[in-house]
């Protein structure tokens, strides 16, 4: 437990001291959303019909940004080798990393989502947005972790990472946008929303295990 | 023959489809054979040293 919080706090501290993705990512999220009315026209009807999908796409794109750097620093400065030598379970380290990752790159997007939904003129209540954005951003983080560990230190890392991760993000996009769509039209969004949470329940225990395996593969 | 090639007016689509498949297969086969040729030459050169 101590190790877990140590990793978590250290990652948060590093992020804040280095200019903070915790600030930049929400700004990027807003910036993408800003592009839509400029590209599609500010017509309220258009924005309302395409808004739910656009919000999830913007969150998806913002989620791509932090992935490449997740483990590279720890690999380069020797933290990872020390961890392996110290016989500490790598799974605690990875779990701490995942939590820090979501606090930095997931939670701010969840908090931002009602504001952006207002700007797009969507008629979706804030708790409906939470209900969709919480599992969606968590899934972006979890799948992103696997992809980041998979392509750690690879050549052409960032492009490769996007190529790997976007196909895997597709179900999240579909069910997230579908749920928001149904929420907006006042219909029951139980199906897609539940599916998002089910995917989360599936990915949550598996991701640390797979990520640990992948990191071990990358180190030796 | 011309009638066969014309395929009841759909000749363009049908022959493009078959042509595309053929092109891709040939490209893949050529790339594979060329790589095999290159690797074998490299093996010979390395063996000489």
């Amino acid at each position: 437990m101590k190790q877990l919080t140590a990793v978590l706090m250290q990652d948060l501290r590093i992020d804040i001291r280095h200019g903070g993705q915790i600030v930049i990512l929400p700004a990027f999220f807003l910036l993408i959303v800003l592009l839509y009315p400029l590209g599609l026209g500010a017509d309220v009807k258009t924005l309302q019909t395409s808004g739910p999908g656009l919000l999830i796409i913007a969150a998806l794109l913002a989620s791509l940004l932090p992935l490449e750097k997740l483990y590279t620093d720890d690999l380069k400065d020797g933290t990872m080798d020390l961890l392996l030598l110290s016989q500490q379970p790598l799974s605690l380290y990875v779990t701490g990393k995942i939590m820090a990752h979501w606090i930095i790159a997931g939670a701010p997007l969840v908090i931002m989502s009602p504001v952006l939904a207002q700007m797009m003129g969507l008629g979706i209540s804030w708790h409906a947005l939470m209900l969709v954005f919480t599992p969606a951003t968590l899934l972006f983080v979890l799948i992103g972790q696997i992809a980041a560990a998979l392509s750690l230190n690879a050549q052409r890392g960032s492009v490769l990472l996007a190529l790997l991760v976007i196909p895997l993000y597709i179900p999240i996009l579909i069910f997230g946008a579908g749920a928001l769509d149904l929420f907006q039209s006042g219909m029951s969004a139980k199906g897609p929303a539940l599916f998002l949470w089910a995917m989360l329940a599936f990915a949550l225990p598996l991701t640390p295990l797979v990520t640990v395996k992948l990191l071990k593969m990358q180190i030796d | 023959m011309a009638e066969f090639l014309n395929m009841n007016g759909y000749g363009f689509y049908i022959w493009s489809a078959y042509g595309a498949a053929l092109t891709i297969f040939i490209a893949l086969a050529l790339a594979t054979l060329y790589k095999s040729f290159r690797l074998k030459r490299e093996q010979r050169l390395l063996g000489k040293d």
């Binding site: 490769l160 597709i170 | 049908i14 086969a29």
Partner: protein
């Protein structure tokens, strides 16, 4: 089965299979092309364009079959550390991508005359497009590291993760398709169900057999390349380290 990890026995066996597959590929493809282009009747609805089906549908089958075979190889590599399985993934991925590309291109060329458009966001076409990107990812990851062992392992993991995700992706795309209700279309691949007339089913199966043999030929040739390339890598390391 693991006895064939022995390179000598692998070489003997692969030579026999290669020859057999080559002969059968020529026979099946010759017969298949004859049946598909000449002997089979035009469809009463789609007229001659149905002839595109005889490459489109077998290519779709092969693209899925190859991914499934790669998933088995990935498990073999990860659990039993069987190197040949890693070579197989690298050898098969570009062939799978090629079949997927053929499926997409011919589907587009079939869509234009039958639906009046080059591309429709139909559930099947969309999933095939996603499958194509998965193949590209596996290929890219297979070349991403200087250490070939690491490249192999990483792409095997990606194949495995992809194969867990593929059913979810397929399900989600189908759900998305019902939600957005595109103009009602008769799905191209519906033609491929066993209910179709034997005059069309036979050429379809013969072409599929031909494609399968062609895949085996290409896969063995590429597998040999992979093995040779690894040998050269080892020889190089040896010359460097003396």
């Amino acid at each position: 089965m693991f006895g064939y990890a022995n390179p000598k026995r692998y070489q003997q066996l692969s030579r026999i299979i290669l020859a057999l597959a080559l002969v059968f590929a020529v026979i099946f493809l010759g017969e298949g092309l004859y049946l598909a282009l000449i002997a089979s009747p035009p469809d009463y609805q789609q007229s001659e364009t149905v002839r595109i089906m005889y490459i489109h549908v077998p290519a779709a089958w092969l693209s899925m079959f190859i991914y499934a075979s790669m998933a088995v190889a990935a498990l073999t590599l990860i659990i039993w550390k069987h190197t040949l399985a890693g070579f197989y993934i690298r050898a098969a991925a570009p062939i799978g991508a090629a079949f997927t590309a053929i499926c997409l291109i011919t589907g587009s060329l079939w869509g234009q005359p039958t639906w009046g458009t080059w591309w429709v966001w139909d559930a099947r076409l969309t999933s095939v497009l996603i499958l194509f990107f998965l193949y590209l990812g596996v290929m890219a990851l297979g070349n991403a590291y200087d250490n070939p062992d690491k490249s192999q392992q990483a792409s095997a993991w990606l194949v495995l993760i992809g194969s867990i995700n593929l059913p979810i992706i397929k399900f989600s795309v189908e759900w998305w398709n019902t939600l957005h209700q595109p103009a009602s279309l008769t799905s191209l691949s519906r033609m491929a169900n066993p209910g179709i007339h034997p005059d069309m089913l036979v050429p379809l199966l013969v072409m599929a057999g031909g494609f399968l043999c062609l895949f085996v030929v290409l896969a063995i040739l590429r597998l040999n390349n992979e093995i040779l390339s690894r040998k050269i890598h080892v020889m190089r390391l040896r010359t460097i380290h003396g």
